[in-house]
Structure formats: structure tokens, C-alpha cells
């Protein structure tokens, strides 16, 4: 048994027993971890009200060899992001970023992924421009960092440079755009049409986005493409829950 102290972001909390909570953490030094916070549901818990999704802190826990659930001994608040709950677009967007981390973070520690998620959540809190655009930019940053950058400038099947100014098709299976010549080889259900604007904006998104809060012209198409791309390449062909949430009428 060893005592671990690491920066951590709370991704999700579960009620456990009458008084305890289980937390899924993305930690800077130990990757994804599950910890039990005993007594955290008590109103006068020593953890206070800090153990909430999107919160950053320094977690101390006893890591048991071969165990999946560790016991949290302390959580020192670094940054709370409760305000994300006060606007549904920001809340849904933060849900998407944390779901990506929760589902696809590698078992090995990934400090850059941890930092990127933190920057993404901070941006969602502070964004004064279009929140959906910020969400798409920050989500692609995580996906590109995880090693799933799609091919947006060369045909994903033959590798030829494709004329960037033209509308094109995106092949989910191939993981990128396909040139006109290769398009018949792709499976129809795997193809998504990209208008000229959608294509140009996808190139920008995959490169890290504009970051200026101006709304994307092709926001809806980008959201659908991101949903399908993640489902296809990372999630056993099932869309992430956060996309289902985003598609509901949020008032």
C-alpha cells in the first residue's frame, strides 16, 4: 500500500452507501483512478462540498496493489467549476469533455491529457463567444491528443493531396476525407458529405481551432461528424451519452 498525492480532476461521482461517494478521477500522475470518499455524503463531511464533477484538486489516496478502488484520504481544492451548472450549453459541453476523458484516457498516466482537459473546462467557464464552437474545438484537441486525428488534407484511402477548396466526403471508416476517385470504394453508410465551409472548418478544428469564440458556419454538421467519428473510432460504434444530451431540447 502506498500513499499517492497527485493533481486530479473529478470526472464523475456515484453515490455509494448511505454516506460515501465513489469518484472517477483523471489524475496527472496516475491516469484514471477510482477512489471511495468515505463520509462524503454527510452534510458535515470533512471533504466539505468539494467532491463535485469538473472540480480540480490535489488528491491523496492509498493505492492498493491490484485493487481498482482506492480510499481517498484528502482532497485539497484547487479549482471548482460549479458555475458550469448555471448554463446548460456550458454544462453539456463540459459533460462531453469529461466523458471523452472518462471513456478514452489511456491506463498510463498522461499529464498532457490532464492539462488539456483542465484548459478545456476553464475555457468553457470563461468563453464569452459561442460555447458550442468552444466545445467542438476543445473536444477535437482531446481527440487529436489521444492519437485519433483524422486526415483532413489528404485522401484517407489513396493519400493524395485533395483540393482543399472543394466540397468533399468524409469516410468514417477510413478516418478522413476521401477523394472523388476513391469515393466509390468507400461504404455508403460510412460517408458523410462535407460542404466547402464544413471542410475548411474541420481542417481548422483538427489543427486546434481559431479559439476566438466566433461561431462556426457548419456547427451542426461538425457536431454530428464529431459524434459519428468518436462513435466509430473510439466507442464501439455507439455515440457518447453526452451527444444524446446535446440533442435534446435544452429549453
Amino acid at each position: 500500500m502506498s500513499l499517492v498525492t497527485t493533481f486530479a480532476t473529478i470526472l464523475k461521482t456515484y453515490e455509494y452507501s448511505e454516506t460515501s461517494k465513489i469518484l472517477r478521477l483523471l489524475t496527472r500522475d496516475h491516469g484514471l483512478c477510482s477512489v471511495i470518499a468515505k463520509g462524503a455524503r454527510r452534510p458535515k463531511s470533512r471533504f466539505g462540498g468539494l467532491l463535485e464533477p469538473f472540480t480540480d484538486g490535489i488528491a491523496t489516496f492509498y493505492a492498493k496493489e491490484g485493487r481498482e478502488l482506492h480510499t481517498l484520504s484528502a482532497f485539497e481544492l484547487h479549482r471548482e467549476r460549479q458555475a458550469l451548472g448555471r448554463e446548460l450549453a456550458r454544462y453539456a459541453a463540459a459533460g462531453l469533455l469529461t466523458e471523452i476523458a472518462l471513456r478514452f484516457a489511456p491506463a498510463a498516466p498522461d499529464a498532457e491529457l490532464f492539462d488539456q482537459l483542465g484548459r478545456g473546462l476553464d475555457r468553457l467557464l470563461a468563453e464569452s463567444g459561442d460555447v458550442e464552437t468552444a466545445m467542438l474545438e476543445e473536444a477535437w484537441k482531446l481527440i487529436v491528443h489521444l492519437g485519433f486525428a483524422p486526415s483532413t488534407e489528404r485522401c484517407s484511402l489513396c493519400g493524395r493531396q485533395d483540393e482543399a477548396a472543394e466540397p468533399t466526403h468524409f469516410d468514417l471508416m477510413g478516418g478522413g476525407i476521401v477523394c472523388e476517385r476513391c469515393q466509390p470504394q468507400a461504404e455508403k453508410s460510412s460517408l458523410r458529405e462535407l460542404s466547402r465551409a464544413a471542410r475548411a472548418e474541420l481542417v481548422t478544428l483538427v489543427r486546434g481551432g481559431r479559439g476566438d469564440g466566433r461561431p462556426l458556419e457548419s456547427a451542426r454538421a461538425q457536431r454530428d461528424l464529431l459524434r459519428d467519428f468518436v462513435a466509430y473510432h473510439l466507442a464501439d460504434h455507439r455515440p457518447l451519452n453526452s451527444f444524446r444530451f446535446l440533442e435534446e431540447r435544452l429549453g
Binding site: T19, R41, S45, G48, G49, G85, Y91, L250
Partner: protein, 194 residues
């Protein structure tokens, strides 16, 4: 599988009960007089057969509509919205509230794919007749509870009904169900418009 294993495996499906505790409970029931164990079994059976969701407020009750919805002495102009039926007991027990209730059945959660359509929101909106003057949102003081309150305000306020939220003082991240009566009564009394 023996009947002992059978019962232990049923226990281990309950929240917060692992394999060890499941066997501990099973062996406890083997030690007590058989009629006591049967009384527990009958209580579970009766509950499963008789308790239903109230079709008006979604509270759990043996009658439909439930005892809160049919009680003429309760304030018919106020609806207190809670996440779970178990929160009603905590709020009612505080003595600070005598109006009607509405159970959402959870809170908005992107990661679980729970949006407004998965909650009892439409049935709440359907209850907003001219008699209802105030909706008190008593979701938990958590980020999910806050988001749910934000949403309810967005859909209820345009109907001309005052929407209030419990005052701070309930610990953030805590659970309404486990807050003490005095704290809840204070939060109710200090509720503010959204």
C-alpha cells in the same frame, strides 16, 4: 446454488452491499427466529406489490394519487420539485413546507445521457394551472442539481409561475436526503427567486 447462496446473491445486488456483507446478512437471518425472517420477506413482497408511482407527482405510494396530492389541507398553490421520492420525507419532516410535491426521477446528467426527456418534466409543466403560484426547486446542491434547476427555471418561468431555489446553507455536494430538518427548514424559509 444453495438457498443460502441464492439469498446472498440477491443481497449483493443491493447498492453498497458487497459479497462479504451479503453473506453476513444472510447468516444473521439464519440466526433469528424463522417468523422474524418471514416478516421481512412479507414486508418486501407487500411493498413490491402495492407501492406504485403516483400518476400526478411520481411520489411512491400505495394510493394513486398519493396522500400528498389528495390532502386538501396542503397548500395547493405551491409545488416543491425534488430529484427523488426519498427527498420528500426529508423536506416534509423538516416541518417547513406544507405544499405539493413533484418528483423528477433524477437530475440532468450528460454523462448518463439523462436529458429533460428522461425526467418527469412534461408532467410538471402539465400541472401548472392558474392555481399554482410558485415552484420551489429543491434539487440537490450539486453541479447536476444546479443545472437541473437552471433548466426548470427556463421552462417554468415563461408560464408565469414564480420559480425559487432553496437558499444556500445546504452544503454543496451534499445530499438533501441526509441534511437535518433545521437546515432544510432554513433553506426553505430563505429560498430566493431564480
Amino acid at each position: 446454488m444453495s438457498v443460502i447462496d441464492d439469498l446472498a446473491s440477491e443481497f449483493s445486488r443491493l447498492p453498497g452491499i458487497g459479497r462479504k456483507t451479503a453473506y453476513r446478512l444472510t447468516h444473521y437471518l439464519l440466526k433469528i427466529p424463522p417468523e422474524e425472517a418471514c416478516r421481512l420477506a412479507r414486508a418486501i413482497e407487500a411493498m413490491a406489490e402495492r407501492v406504485r408511482h403516483c400518476s400526478t407527482c411520481h411520489n411512491l405510494s400505495e394510493s394513486d394519487p398519493c396522500e400528498y396530492c389528495t390532502n386538501p389541507n396542503r397548500d395547493q398553490a405551491t409545488i416543491c420539485v425534488v430529484e427523488e421520492a426519498s427527498d420528500i420525507a426529508a423536506i416534509d419532516g423538516s416541518g417547513g413546507y406544507r405544499g405539493l410535491y413533484h418528483v423528477l426521477g433524477g437530475c440532468l446528467s450528460p454523462l448518463d445521457g439523462i436529458g429533460p426527456e428522461e425526467l418527469n418534466v412534461d408532467s410538471l409543466l402539465a400541472r401548472l394551472n392558474s392555481e399554482i403560484r410558485e415552484v420551489i426547486v429543491a434539487t440537490n446542491p450539486s453541479v447536476e442539481g444546479e443545472a437541473t434547476a437552471t433548466y426548470l427555471h427556463k421552462v417554468v418561468a415563461p408560464r408565469g409561475v414564480k420559480v425559487t431555489r432553496l437558499a444556500r446553507g445546504l452544503p454543496v455536494g451534499g445530499d438533501l436526503e441526509y441534511a437535518d430538518g433545521v437546515t432544510i427548514a432554513q433553506a426553505l424559509a430563505g429560498r430566493r427567486g431564480m
